[in-house]
């Protein structure tokens, strides 16, 4: 099976879908001729022509707004926001329009579009190349919000997202683009080529939206994570020797509640982890869900690890990033509680 980085897997998902369905169009800032600042759309314009893949003016509201119009026409636009940090100008179009179009028109019009964006930190990108805004989407009814953690899922989920008839927010942890990153920034990076999930089938396959996956079975404590934090959680389990069950949520809305519930009822302990700032982060929703469904099974307070409640700093990156040490501490606390 071919080995791919996450970038290659994403590019391939685009190509597979553009080949399969002439209604799939791709655009965004620098995505056309150049193929995207992270090269996720490289080669698509040459292969599918300028009206299927093209550069957009720097106006995120325009990009999403035009995509909504195209989707209402019957196309399946896949747009890139250059960094998740730049999605806010498009927030109104996403929240007030894409998310509500089916509902408010009672299905007369729909907005099957995918909004892709590189997310997360760990690249010394400072305040505006590091944010994780998923919670700002999970609060909005009508959106699906997903975060793949590896090339295999990235391709399968992007295809599923493009085929989905609802708007999907597709967050790509940029620190994972070229290899799994477990937060041990002092160690050399392993490439995806050496990781089983770097094996990516050719052609079309899907990873269903709404389904999580156990990445490490364990009996001591359940860790709920997604994106980069999946790898950090695995490292923390390894580093601490705690037999954690690490769940990669993959889709945040709709959430795979059954999987979570079964695991926490088994382990009786739970830690939730994300890169985003803690207060009102998606971790809060996870805690609330677990608290509600597993209250009588919980033996310790649910641990919550996330970015500090500050803007993402530049030089202090490794003090900000919730790395394996902090997650490890939370695991220990969960075991003590």
């Amino acid at each position: 099976m071919p080995r791919m980085t996450m970038i290659e897997a994403i590019r391939d998902a685009h190509a597979v879908m553009m080949e399969a369905n002439p209604d799939v169009v791709v655009f965004g800032e620098d995505v056309g001729y150049f193929g995207g600042v992270f090269r996720c759309t490289a080669g698509l314009q040459e292969r599918f022509g300028k009206s299927r893949c093209f550069d957009a003016p720097i106006n995120e509201s325009g990009i999403v707004g035009a995509a909504i119009g195209m989707a209402a026409y019957g196309l399946r636009p896949v747009v890139e926001i250059q960094f998740a940090d730049y999605v806010y100008p498009a927030y109104d179009q996403i929240v007030s329009e894409a998310a509500r179009l089916r509902y408010r028109s009672a299905g007369d019009f729909t907005a099957p579009l995918v909004v892709r964006m590189p997310t997360g930190g760990g690249i010394f990108g400072g305040q505006t190349h590091s944010q994780s805004p998923e919670a700002l989407f999970t609060h909005v009814s009508g959106l699906k919000t997903v975060v793949p953690s590896n090339p295999y899922d990235a391709k399968g989920m992007l295809i599923a997202a493009i085929e989905d008839n609802d708007p999907v927010i597709f967050l790509e942890p940029k620190r994972l683009y070229n290899g799994p990153f477990d937060g041990h920034h002092e160690r050399p990076v392993t490439p995806w080529a050496k990781h089983p999930l770097g094996e990516v089938p050719e052609g079309r396959y899907t990873v269903a939206l709404g389904k999580g996956e156990v990445r490490r079975a364990g009996s001591a404590v359940t860790v709920l994570a997604y994106g980069t934090m999946v790898h950090v959680a695995l490292a923390a389990a390894e580093d601490t020797g705690i037999d954690a069950e690490v769940i990669d949520l993959r889709t945040l809305v709709p959430l795979d509640v059954e999987l979570i519930e079964a695991s926490v009822k088994k382990t009786g302990r739970c830690v939730v982890v994300h890169e985003a700032t803690i207060t009102s982060g998606f971790g809060a929703e996870l805690v609330a869900t677990v608290e509600e469904r597993c209250f009588y099974h919980l033996e310790a307070p649910i641990g919550r690890v996330g970015g500090w409640d500050t803007p993402y700093p530049h030089a202090q990156e490794w003090n900000y990033f919730p790395g394996p040490a902090r997650v490890g501490e939370a695991l220990k606390r969960a075991m003590e509680g």
Partner: protein
């Protein structure tokens, strides 16, 4: 430097208590503005953004290059459509006052724009309207009963009670779901038009926005995208002089006109008399033809006046002279078209009175029928189950649980 700065805050000429004064509105003579070929170089017609294209003159005659786009029968049909829109507004306004629904917005005085525009486009074309283009639906024979059912949020409501009254949606009638958020539709229309171009289709889009809403940023996004990709779209700005209590000078600032906004994008930009059914149709046709011939977007500012309150939640007496509407120099679109038809011998005052009665009866009958399906607070409305549907294509587990919790 001794000079002190100071803030300039534009003000309308007159406020309540004052005498309405539109002497500042320069109105060119009907027929005086030339009609360029549709493939004209935009740079050559910049002056059209500062004039007003008009066809009907004071004597009720159609004059000039832009005249003649419609037959007498078509004009008569247009007159009746506008009358129907007005009767509809009157009825529904009353229904709101009677508590049969929560809210209503009229398009009084602006009927010509949507009604005539609709006749310049084809089936399959798509409008992205605001809340004052009900005429687009009525001119396309969308059932009044369905419109009213939407307003009543009753059990026949095509939108299942979910939307505020008058935020209609009808794909079949080329009418995009109206949003409560201003201006978002303007760039969506451009995207729809781009899609049509991508698919080598022949259909075109029309975007609609109010004078006040041109200040919104999505207006800019739309112009940028339309100009870059030469999208087949007609960009309509309905300048009815007011944005709730705010006069158009706040949105327009130092520019002469709203049409002028298009010039910086190299988009052909026209200004036309929105109360002149013939001018609206002719100018719309011109722009639609440009779009259809792949010549790109056109921006049109329709000059008109919001004769009624902004909505049923508004009372304009607080911010503009009561009789300002009567002083509006472009007159009333229905009266003007009626006079034209009478002048050319295609219509009479008697037949007009009779038509009025017929149309009133028709609208009343529709209302009676709509009410058999209930009104907002009366009769079983849309089901609570419906409240949970269409958030997604299929009901996800968490919404199923919530629906159960709600008891449905």
């Amino acid at each position: 430097m001794d000079l002190k700065l100071s803030l300039h805050v534009p003000e309308p000429e007159v406020r309540p208590g004052g005498r309405p004064d539109f002497s500042g509105v320069k109105i060119p003579k009907a027929g005086s503005v030339k009609r360029p070929p549709v493939d004209v170089d935009p740079a050559e017609i910049r002056d059209l953004a500062y004039s007003i294209i008009r066809v009907l003159n004071r004597e009720g005659r159609a004059v000039g290059d832009w005249a003649g786009s419609l037959t007498d029968e078509e004009l008569l049909a247009g007159l009746k459509t506008m009358m129907r829109v007005r009767a509809f507004d009157r009825r529904m306004l009353m229904a709101q006052r009677q508590g049969k629904t929560s809210f209503y917005m009229q398009c009084l005085g602006e009927e010509a724009i949507a009604c005539a525009f609709r006749k310049a486009i084809e089936a399959g074309d798509m409008n992205f309207p605001t809340y004052r283009q009900a005429g687009l639906l009525i001119a396309d024979d969308y059932p009044l009963v369905d419109m009213m059912s939407q307003i009543y949020s009753n059990r026949r409501d095509p939108l299942k009670g979910r939307q505020l009254p008058i935020l209609y949606s009808s794909k079949d009638h080329g009418f995009f779901s109206i949003s409560g958020n201003l201006a978002t539709q303007f760039v969506q229309a451009v995207g729809w038009a781009m899609a049509s171009a991508i698919k080598n289709d022949t259909r075109v889009a029309a975007a609609w926005i109010g004078d006040g809403s041109t200040a919104e940023s999505d207006f800019h996004a739309a112009l940028v995208f339309a100009s870059t990709y030469k999208a087949p779209v007609v960009l309509n700005v309905v300048n009815n002089q007011w944005a709730i209590s705010t006069f158009q000078g706040i949105a327009r600032g130092g520019s002469g006109t709203f049409a002028a906004r298009g010039l910086g994008f190299g988009i052909p930009s026209l200004r036309a008399d929105g109360n002149d059914y013939l001018a609206v149709h002719a100018v719309s046709k011109w722009a639609v033809e440009r779009a259809r011939r792949n010549l790109g977007p056109t921006l049109i500012e329709w000059v008109t006046y919001r004769a009624a309150a902004h909505s049923t939640s508004d009372d304009p007496a607080a911010y503009r002279p009561k009789d300002e509407s009567d002083a509006w120099p472009l007159g009333d679109p229905i009266t003007r078209l009626k006079n034209h038809l009478v002048t050319i011998g295609a219509w009479t005052e008697e037949r007009h009175v009779q038509a009025e009665a017929e149309i009133d009866a028709e609208v009343l009958a529709a209302q009676r029928e709509a009410e058999t399906f209930g009104t907002l607070h009366d009769g079983p409305g849309p089901s609570v189950r419906d409240m949970f549907e269409d958030v997604y294509e299929t009901l996800p587990p968490h919404l199923r649980r919530q629906r159960q919790e709600a008891g449905y």
